[in-house]
């Protein structure tokens, strides 16, 4: 069963706030020069921030449900411009329920390109 897609916008200010909350102060998420020095195309979002947005989509699809597992690969960086922001789209496909656990295959894209590899969540209830 296909779940309605959700979109989220990521700005540089979001990354500053996320760094504070998560404790991940890696400068590649704040500083253009540092990011380019290690071969990245620019400031990139924390992979965990993108994953947190995917988790929000799961929460919206299954209100009140407990997330039992959540995982993905970070296959393409989400480049966040200095001005404005970048939009990601989270789609989902419920793969059915077994023993009270529902598996959800996610699709997370930015400009039509997948940014997470095989993102998957399992929820209870």
């Amino acid at each position: 069963m296909s779940l309605p897609s959700q979109t989220f916008t990521i700005t540089r200010a979001d990354l500053v706030k996320y760094a504070e909350a998560s404790g991940d102060h890696n400068p590649i998420h704040q500083d253009e020069e540092v990011a380019r020095s290690v071969g990245l195309p620019g400031v990139i979002a924390h992979g965990m921030y993108t994953m947190a947005l995917a988790a929000r989509a799961v929460e919206a699809w299954f209100p009140g449900a407990e997330v039992v597992s959540l995982g993905c690969k970070f296959t393409n960086p989400v480049v966040v411009p200095r001005d404005g922001g970048v939009t990601i789209e989270v789609g989902g496909e419920s793969k059915g329920t077994d023993d009270g656990l529902t598996t959800v295959a996610l699709t997370v894209t930015c400009d039509g390109q997948k940014v997470l590899g095989m993102p998957k969540a399992v929820v209870r209830g």
Binding site: F8, D14, K17, Y18, E20, A21, S22, G23, D24, H25, N26, P27, I28, V34, S37, V38, G39, L40, I44, H46, G47, M48, Y49, M51, A52, L53, A55, R56, V58, E59, G64, E66, V67, V68, S69, L70, G71, C72, K73, F74, P77, G117, A121
Partner: protein, 131 residues
């Protein structure tokens, strides 16, 4: 400088106990645009796992800015709640080199004050070698 191969299988000391507060959960939820709903957001465990990864990287003198996240998985035994006192213990599960980068696979077990497993956080870190 490549990461030392002898690290595979090494268990690092547990992080100092982290008390989960409602305020901390609200702050984390707000930072990801969500709302606190009585338990920790699904990716909250990264706060614990990241502290363990940071301690590991510091002890191996790996620069954080050379690290990108390759893969992450959380498997929960139970939800994290305000009042939990948690520690993370990191094990280096695997290490390989691809195209001048180190691919470091870690597994952090997050346990509560009673020593019960709450969440296993498996992370693959990509250490980008100096060009």
């Amino acid at each position: 400088m490549p990461v030392d191969q002898s690290l595979v299988g090494r268990v690092f000391p547990p992080t100092r106990p982290h008390t989960v507060t409602e305020e901390g959960l609200r702050e984390f939820a707000a930072a990801t645009g969500g709302e606190y709903a009585g338990r920790a957001p699904a990716t909250y465990s990264i706060v614990l796992a990241f502290e363990a990864m940071n301690a590991f990287l510091e002890s191996e003198q790996v620069d954080l800015f050379r690290i990108v996240h390759g893969e992450q998985k959380f498997a929960y035994e139970r939800p994290i709640l305000a009042g939990d006192e948690l520690t993370a213990t990191l094990t280096v599960a695997a290490l390989r080199q691809i195209a001048g980068n180190d691919i470091i696979t870690t597994s952090s077990e997050i346990t509560d004050a009673a020593g019960e497993l709450v969440c296993t956080a498996n992370a693959t870190l990509v250490h980008r070698g100096a060009a």
